[in-house]
């Protein structure tokens, strides 16, 4: 069980902001932390790791990591941390990277086999692809058999195929090692596949705390489906108005009447939903 109650004043590009996070996390949970950039997600993770100072309390599995009197240094927290940019030791081979964290050759061998890296164990990190580097980083983070694993957007620099593969690795390792995992992520499909709880931060505060299904499915009431996007353009053809909306990587056309057209402004965030028809699914 993790009891977190922290505050810290952050200096961002939009002036100062108060990071104020208060939550409890159960053992073996997989928590995704999401929210817009600059909302304090990374700082939250770094405070948990002891890499940044904050005031408040952190209690992890019955041990106090942070209180009014002391802050346990990162060396003594015994957690695992996966950085977005891998942060591998460039002067050490794949295997040495793991053994530097803990001289347990059996465990290193096991982890490298699980993540299909055993053939690369003598390579230096700069010889590896992004996906391979992140797998090494993940293995390294687990070398101390941490109870708590923190990941800061671990897959955001990888292509979709590699992401899916690594999500599987993360899930396997999370289960095998029985870690409590906190991961910063923006990717809804990633959150849905991996996490059992989503904490959404905005301006340093928790604004949503729910299961992935509740947090990610945006439908309300009798809506059949609902997607959020950005309104790119509104133009008139004959008697109707057409709105162009970007949803993810796709562009869709929505027909509007005159009143509706006047109530929207280009650049707004909008929700596209339907009630009357069931959307149908077919293979592409």
């Amino acid at each position: 069980m993790l009891d977190i109650n922290i505050t810290k004043t952050l200096q961002g590009s939009a002036g100062s902001m108060e990071l104020d996070v208060n939550c409890a996390i159960e053992e073996h949970d997989f928590v995704a932390v999401s929210g817009p950039s600059g909302s304090g997600k990374t700082t939250f993770l770094r405070i948990l790791a002891g890499l940044e100072e904050a005031s408040g309390n952190i209690e992890v599995f019955g041990k106090s990591w942070l209180n009014a009197k002391k802050s346990l240094p990162p060396q003594k927290r015994g957690l695992g941390f996966v950085f977005q940019d891998y942060a591998l030791f460039a002067n050490m081979s794949v295997e040495e990277n793991l053994l530097f964290a803990n001289k347990d050759k059996e465990l290193a061998k096991h982890l490298l086999a699980l993540t299909e890296l055993d053939e690369l164990k003598a390579q230096l990190p700069n010889r590896l692809s992004g996906g391979q580097k992140q797998r090494v980083s993940l293995c390294r983070a687990l070398m101390k058999r941490p109870q708590l694993l923190l990941m800061d957007e671990p897959l955001s620099a990888l292509d979709p195929f590699m992401r899916t593969k690594l999500q599987q690795d993360i899930l396997t390792l999370h289960k095998e090692f029985g870690t409590t995992t906190i991961m910063v992520s923006h990717d809804p499909s990633e959150i849905y596949r991996l996490a059992n709880r989503v904490i959404e931060l905005s301006h340093g505060k928790i604004i949503h705390d729910a299961s992935p299904k509740e947090a990610l499915l945006k439908t309300q009431g009798s809506q059949k489906f609902s997607l959020t996007g950005e309104l790119l353009d509104i133009f008139k053809t004959d008697v109707i108005y057409v709105a162009i909306v970007a949803i993810g990587q796709q562009i869709v056309e929505i027909v509007l009447d005159e009143n509706e057209a006047k109530s929207f402004q280009v650049g707004e965030r909008v929700q596209v939903s339907t009630k009357a028809f069931s959307p149908s699914l077919s293979k592409v």
Binding site: P73, Q75, A87, F89, A90, N91, F100, N126
Partner: protein, 227 residues
């Protein structure tokens, strides 16, 4: 032509070697601290460290001479307590050279440490390693070109010093008469042949050392994938 006397060269290299060794031990913690600190006093410390680059060697030499001579409290203390004289001997040269070459050791090391990925150092802390272990096993091995540059430039700069050496050491054969001072004396007594030989040797040595450094850096950067 008289027999070529290698003693000034040996003295130059002995002085440079000792100075480089001492400065490495002093500059390592200083440059590491400068690269990691958020202290407001950092610019002040950096300015002090860099002073010898800007100051005329005669100014530096004058202050060192003034501070270490038998008439000063420091010089008198060392003379009375340890029986060590700090000027016009090899010890004095080493002390003066350490001041003179200090920025040439600190700056490349600091620059190297500052280019390191901060997350890599933090990953080492999270792996349970102390700052000292991180410095030795992660930071230093990843700044090899900067490390080599610092060592070689400090060595070469000490071999090449003249003004400070002359002021603090004078020109005592076998004790303080280093190569650069010897050349100055040959020119003064118009022995151009010897001056040519000594200067030629210095030129060739300096060039080979620098070429070696740059070749190493090129190869290293290719290996770890920087260039």
């Amino acid at each position: 032509m008289s027999e070529l006397d290698f003693e000034p060269f040996l003295l130059s290299f002995k002085l440079a070697g000792v100075t480089t060794f001492i400065l490495f031990l002093i500059a390592l913690p200083v440059s590491w601290w400068l690269s990691q600190t958020k202290c407001r006093c950092k610019p002040f410390v950096e300015a002090v460290v860099s002073l010898p680059i800007v100051l005329p060697p005669s100014v530096l030499g004058f202050y060192i001479l003034y501070a270490l001579s038998y008439n000063s409290p420091i010089g008198a203390f060392f003379d009375e307590t340890f029986g060590i004289k700090l000027v016009f001997n090899f010890t004095g040269l080493v002390i003066a050279s350490c001041f003179y070459s200090f920025p040439f050791m600190v700056q490349p090391l600091q620059g190297g440490f500052e280019t390191l990925n901060k997350n890599m150092l933090e990953a080492s802390y999270i792996a349970g390693k102390s700052k000292f272990q991180t410095l030795v096993f992660v930071a230093l091995p990843n700044i090899k070109p900067a490390l080599l540059t610092a060592l070689i430039i400090t060595f070469a700069h000490t071999v090449g010093e003249f003004g400070v050496v002359l002021m603090v050491g004078g020109s005592i054969a076998g004790e303080t008469k280093v190569a650069s001072v010897a050349i100055y004396e040959f020119v003064e007594i118009m022995d151009y042949t010897q001056a040519h030989i000594y200067s030629g040797i210095m030129l060739a040595l300096s060039f080979s050392v620098l070429l070696g450094v740059y070749l190493f850096n090129l190869r290293h950067n290719k290996r770890i994938g920087v260039a």
